[in-house]
Symmetry: D2
Subunit: 225 residues, 4 copies
């Protein structure tokens, strides 16, 4: 499944500030900003909130993670089929806080194609982005681990990793969208990422931890318009 | 947190038959049977459906699993605080399909006490049940791995493991409720378990895979009345 | 580090038949066959036997697995630096019985280059072989999981997966040697693999479980001469 | 299998300072100190050095870790049978850097009894020590995670955790020896631990990182004499 770009993907992780009702409220803020500005925003709620949020809001929701199992006796694991029936349009894959085995990344991406779901695969460097591109995911999000949650935007701290990844991924598979993660918190960061060739951003704490989440979302949206 | 006993705990795993709307429908069937018969029934939906189901139905819901992390940068992991805010009353712990490290089992149980949540810890033999009892969980569910999903009730196939576990757990901590899992599918199985000293059952395929789920639930309920 | 090809790589896994003195004896048999026939044979002993065997025999030894940690407080884990100091020339990576995260596979391969060690990365299909080739390992061993230990040679059961992998890997990186695993047990299997473009084989039970291990080794060696 | 007490158990982890020949040299230093002073010293070499070291030195060697598998197709994993054939007398279990599932801890301990091997199970608090005592290991080593590698001895920083663990473990199973880990580096620390009821110590960096390893070993030995 393709995603509309340029896009802002918000991953709310397991933060205290984005649990329960606060998860739903933040999702609704995203939907409002998307509606008011026309920006593409996708939302990744806490895993246990996925069906509740995805069934309620208008913008696309993705799971934060999906396990590489088929439906069956898999207590407490999340299978892609359940993600789809929950109303989500896809899943993050291989987030730096939830790394996956290479065969499982391949398996999830191929199954997502069959189920018409989107896969956004997180990678830690250009080499891994290139390798993942061989599997043909919907998108690849480059996030140097040392910048995650740092407040220092990858597009400023390490612009080459973004432009190199864009070039390397394009070289393998032109259909794979490259996103840019780690340290993004302003519309300016988003704009810088897009100028380096990225088609959007993946971020978390910059919004979730903000005092005025909606103001930050509006600012970010200005970067993709 | 205490649970009302005798109790039937239904774990719907990641079965195809209990995804999305079918998960909600099955939960509602459980609530109806509980209401009609007066039996205590608790429901463990698919992880991604937890908030959606728990906020809708009247009977207690539990997570199928919970990761031993504090809230924070833990993409795709389920923390106990999110389980609580999802509307659940507790969580299964250490299911045979999702085994946990001993320090994490201890950590989850202690945190659950602080959050006033219930913990039902699955164990594979009497020794592990006894060890877990030292942590003071709400309940311990003994499930010999070879009987899970077998259709052969542990209360028939291995009655001694049930009565021995009841005695051994009681010896360590009288407040820990012993449940009986693996192969339960009829009211007769439930009755047998209770006669062996268990305070209820934990089951999955016997209901989820049944052609007439509600009929099976009614039959099971007859075993605790 | 390059490996001499065509090569037979023997992985003795954690088999009862290849523990302790039997591990050393089998290694010596391999060294003898290599010496007598001129065939290139490499040996992967049980992890706890690595230094003992590698320091004793003349043919190259590899670790069966290596963890993606740097030296330090990592009780019970095997780091690449310790593999090198044990006298091994490299390590298997991502065996189907010991799958690794993609970032760790990349990390091990890059560190092995710095330490001048060989990496033989196991893969389950052509797509994963291609992705791994982007990291530039010494070799890639294609092993369809369903054929491992089956006694049915991949070179017979699924010749296309071998020739496709050879072509796809070559397309990404001509320096990566492609080996062929799963179900190999005779010199004929080896010859078939090499005719399909592989530069050698990775095998285990075919030798370890054989009544006359040396006879099987001699037969295998005939396939690479 | 019983171990002689009071005992000093040295775990060399995956430190740079204890690899290859330096691993063997340190083991020999331990053997010399044991022989010269009469102190009981056991040595846990790097996993890949286990057979090499255990077959060479006179004092007991233990594996740093063992996986809960039976011998077979388990590439890169360490099974207890291979530990025994390597010449070791047992294994550390559930080290804080290598935590294990509760069912696996139980499984390893029971199998070790059959194979007449010793198990030293690491625990992070009194509750976990008590739970583990139910399985009847040879020894339990209490190591508060925050003190590991700190240079601050648990016997000084948190004497109650030692004496409480000794009492609690004794209450469950008098045959389980309690060791004391984390932050031990002098004979005085050892003596303090023994005065609190421990039967020995488990340590690592205090010796491995020392400029004069033998001098530290002699000092430690003075604490058990």
């Amino acid at each position: 499944m393709k995603i509309k770009t340029p896009i802002i993907v918000l991953n709310v992780k397991a933060y205290e500030e984005s649990m329960g009702q606060r998860d739903m409220d933040l999702a609704k803020n995203c939907a409002e900003v998307a509606s008011e500005t026309g920006a593409n925003i996708a939302y990744c709620p806490q895993q246990v909130d996925l069906a509740w949020v995805a069934r309620e809001i208008e913008i696309p929701c993705l799971a934060q993670h999906c396990d590489a199992f088929d439906p069956g006796s898999k207590t407490g694991w999340t299978v892609l089929e359940a993600v789809k029936e929950a109303g989500a349009v896809g899943t993050l894959v291989n987030h730096s806080e939830h790394r996956m085995q290479i065969a499982d990344i391949d398996g999830i991406i191929q199954k997502a194609k069959e189920l018409d779901l989107a896969t956004i695969v997180c990678t830690n460097n250009t080499g891994v982005s290139t390798a993942v591109a061989e599997f043909g995911p919907t998108a690849s999000a480059i996030e140097p681990p040392e910048l995650i949650g740092s407040g220092i935007s990858v597009s400023k701290a390490d612009p080459e990793i973004v432009s190199n990844s864009v070039a390397a991924v394009e070289d393998v598979n032109k259909d794979v969208v490259v996103l840019c993660g780690a340290g993004i918190s302003t519309g300016e960061d988003v704009k810088a990422a897009i100028e380096l060739g990225a088609k959007g951003v993946l971020l978390a704490s910059g919004v979730v931890k903000a005092e005025d989440q909606k103001a930050v979302l509006l600012n970010l949206a200005s970067g993709v318009l």
